[in-house]
């Protein structure tokens, strides 16, 4: 009995303490931030902002920043809905800057929620190539501050000459069964790139990356899906597509596979951290894998619109752009000619071009059809 009473006593005490802590420990108000950024992407993007860009900005301008991070774009639709809802209710939104996929920006454009970015409110826009897919797909309201693309990673220990075209890649896969895979397109961008690039073998990318949606145009994807399906016996473990970008890198690291599509920034960073061996190299093929999945937009009714514009403008200057390129091993938002020479030389190889992504609705259907026709057993 006494033992129970002691347990009860301690448990009650702990519960009371926890309750008190929880009620007083609510997110502190503190000093209100001058600008709030909503950033989507992978964890390396989050760290780049948290550890490098935001402290740099706060030091340069003395303005307090706050970042809300959307893991892999989780809830991107929800944030868009939030911004639209604020516009309709005629209030401001706390989203001052939103980094997301260009197609989401385009969707929002229909509700006129974005600030039109011109050289009058964003001087450094002059440094950006406005013909880039990210700008075009986002209907002109999104500006890329970084670019990364999916590249082909291969282990030089086993692969002396990597394939240079998509067809050569297909041949290599068939000749080396079990040594290649890509991650499930529903869970990661690098696997999705494999899917979209297969589709682009048979159709024009631009037909699917704009806002228009016509479900009947998806029949043109059939050859691509059959092509991917035919690869199944040559894929690692007889058709196993792992869950997530990192899982594929792990397979490469443990030498289960010799080649795979990966995000350029993730691959280089994992190699630097010793998670994959130094024998892993990266190359781009023709036609290029997809990329350009990120652009920044500023809501017209943002609470701190001017601060958002100021931040974006700063982001497009050389110093932060160098950080971006160095950290992510991708390419900058501004044109290469504005970057320092040593940076240009360092990344010339992988930072080539890339193909645009299909719009969000096509992406959704592509993933579903992949699951049904490529992953699923005989139809």
């Amino acid at each position: 009995m006494t033992r129970f009473r002691m347990t009860v006593g301690w448990t009650t005490l702990l519960a009371v303490v926890a309750l008190v802590v929880s009620l007083t420990g609510q997110p502190a108000r503190g000093q209100a931030p001058g600008v709030v950024l909503y950033i989507s992407g992978d964890t390396n993007i989050q760290e780049m902002f948290e550890k490098q860009l935001l402290p740099m900005y706060e030091k340069d301008t003395g303005m307090k920043t706050k970042m809300v991070f959307l893991e892999h774009g989780q809830g991107a639709a929800g944030i868009l809905a939030k911004i639209i809802a604020a516009k309709r209710a005629n209030t401001t939104t706390d989203v001052d800057l939103y980094e997301t996929q260009p197609t989401f920006i385009a969707q929002g454009a229909q509700d006129s929620i974005w600030t039109k970015l011109t050289k009058d409110n964003l001087t450094n826009i002059a440094k950006v190539d406005l013909q880039r897919p990210e700008v075009l797909v986002s209907a002109g309201f999104g500006i890329p501050y970084r670019g990364s693309s999916v590249v082909l990673a291969y282990n030089t220990k086993f692969v002396k000459e990597p394939p240079k075209t998509y067809d050569q890649l297909l041949e290599w896969i068939k000749k080396n069964p079990g040594k290649f895979t890509y991650c499930d397109p529903q869970t990661c961008g690098s696997g999705a790139a494999m899917l979209y690039t297969a589709i682009y073998k048979f159709v024009k990318a631009e037909d699917y990356s704009q806002l228009a949606f016509d479900a009947s145009k998806e029949t043109a994807w059939e050859p691509a899906l059959q092509l991917l399906r035919s690869l199944k016996p040559a894929i690692y473990n007889n058709g196993f597509y792992p869950n997530g970008n990192v899982a594929v890198l792990q397979l490469l690291g443990r030498e289960n596979i010799w080649m795979a599509p990966v995000w350029s920034d993730q691959g280089v960073s994992q190699r630097d951290q010793g998670l994959i061996p130094k024998t892993i190299q990266f190359t781009q093929i023709t036609p290029a894998f997809t990329g350009g999945d990120s652009a920044m937009a500023i809501p017209a009714h943002a609470e701190h619109q001017a601060a958002g514009l100021q931040f974006l403008n700063w982001l497009l200057t050389t110093k932060p752009q160098t950080v971006v390129v160095n950290t992510l091993a991708g390419y900058p938002g501004i044109q290469w000619k504005f970057m320092p020479k040593d940076v240009r030389d360092k990344f010339a190889g992988i930072a080539g071009n890339f193909s645009p992504l299909p719009n969000a609705r096509y992406q959704a259907d592509a993933k579903r059809l992949w699951q049904e026709k490529v992953a699923g057993s005989a139809q």
């Binding site: 869950n243 289960n256 993933k367 579903r368 699923g376 057993s377």
Partner: protein, 281 residues
């Protein structure tokens, strides 16, 4: 015949708070969502019909998913039960250090969050994972894949379900008086006969509870199949989530949830019918 007067009113009042919460967050949303799946547009009018369900069950991948889910659930529940019963029997009828060790061991998975259990299983069973490394050391190679397929799901579900099943069965066994076993022995019954004729019937309630809750729990589990399952076929919970977050088709997602719930409800009905207790005055 009892009258429900003041006692009835007090009873209802006291159960109202959690009931309201349940109604607000589960019952009403569920009803609304399921009603939505019954609404189909035909020739410009909105009518109620089972069309959506019929179309779904005609999609090969969805049909396969339902079948796959049932198969994995039944196998996992069965395997857990077959493992837990002998364990419970041993713990009930034996003392000693082996018994104490087992007692401490089988509870462990209860306290490991499912997401961690799944992750641990992956590192353990994947290709070139820990098991394969150990076997490689003793010269055994070429193990069939144990992870990212039905085998992986079953193993992980069994791992996570052992504590609950064993606890319930053990409790049921503990309610059986030693004297009953002794009397059976006294009339010359062997161990197997005792088990079949005395223990099994007396432990029916615990058996029903453990089997039905194993079934319901595994049927609806999401984390384990998501982290540990393969690409196709997939468990219904994973497919549901994909339809919602990836394919942007929430109506199918809800319809799948409704089907899953109906199957769970059947197991629930079995449980109720098996366990409905007579009220003691």
């Amino acid at each position: 015949m009892k009258s429900f007067g003041r006692e009835g009113a007090a009873g209802i009042l006291l159960v109202l708070p959690p009931l309201l919460l349940l109604a607000l967050l589960i019952l009403y949303p569920a009803a609304e969502a399921v009603l939505g799946t019954l609404r189909v547009e035909r020739a410009g009018h909105v009518i109620y019909s089972l069309d959506r369900y019929r179309d779904m069950l005609q999609t090969v991948s969805l049909r396969r998913s339902v079948g796959f889910t049932l198969m994995v659930t039944v196998i996992s529940a069965g395997a857990t039960f077959l493992l837990a019963y002998p364990l419970a029997l041993y713990l009930r009828f034996t003392r000693g250090w082996v018994s104490s060790a087992l007692m401490a061991l089988f509870i462990v998975p209860l306290f490991i969050p499912v997401v961690i259990a799944s992750f641990a299983m992956v590192t353990f069973l994947e290709n070139h994972g820990y098991v394969e490394t150990l076997l490689h050391y003793v010269g055994i190679e070429g193990l069939p894949p144990l992870m990212f397929n039905a085998v992986g799901i079953v193993l992980t579900e069994v791992w996570a379900s052992i504590p609950f099943a064993t606890l319930v069965l053990l409790a049921g066994l503990q309610a059986i008086d030693d004297s009953l076993i002794d009397s059976a022995r006294d009339v010359g019954a062997g161990p197997l006969r005792t088990f079949v004729s005395v223990i099994l019937p007396l432990n029916t309630v615990a058996t029903i509870i453990s089997l039905s809750f194993l079934f319901i729990g595994i049927l609806g589990s999401f984390t384990i199949p998501y982290l540990v399952g393969g690409n196709a076929p997939q468990m219904m919970s994973v497919v549901m989530t994909n339809y919602f977050t990836n394919y942007l088709r929430p109506e199918i997602s809800v319809a799948l949830a409704a089907i899953s719930f109906v199957i769970a409800a059947l197991a629930g009905a079995a449980y109720v019918m098996g366990v409905a207790r007579r009220e003691t005055a």
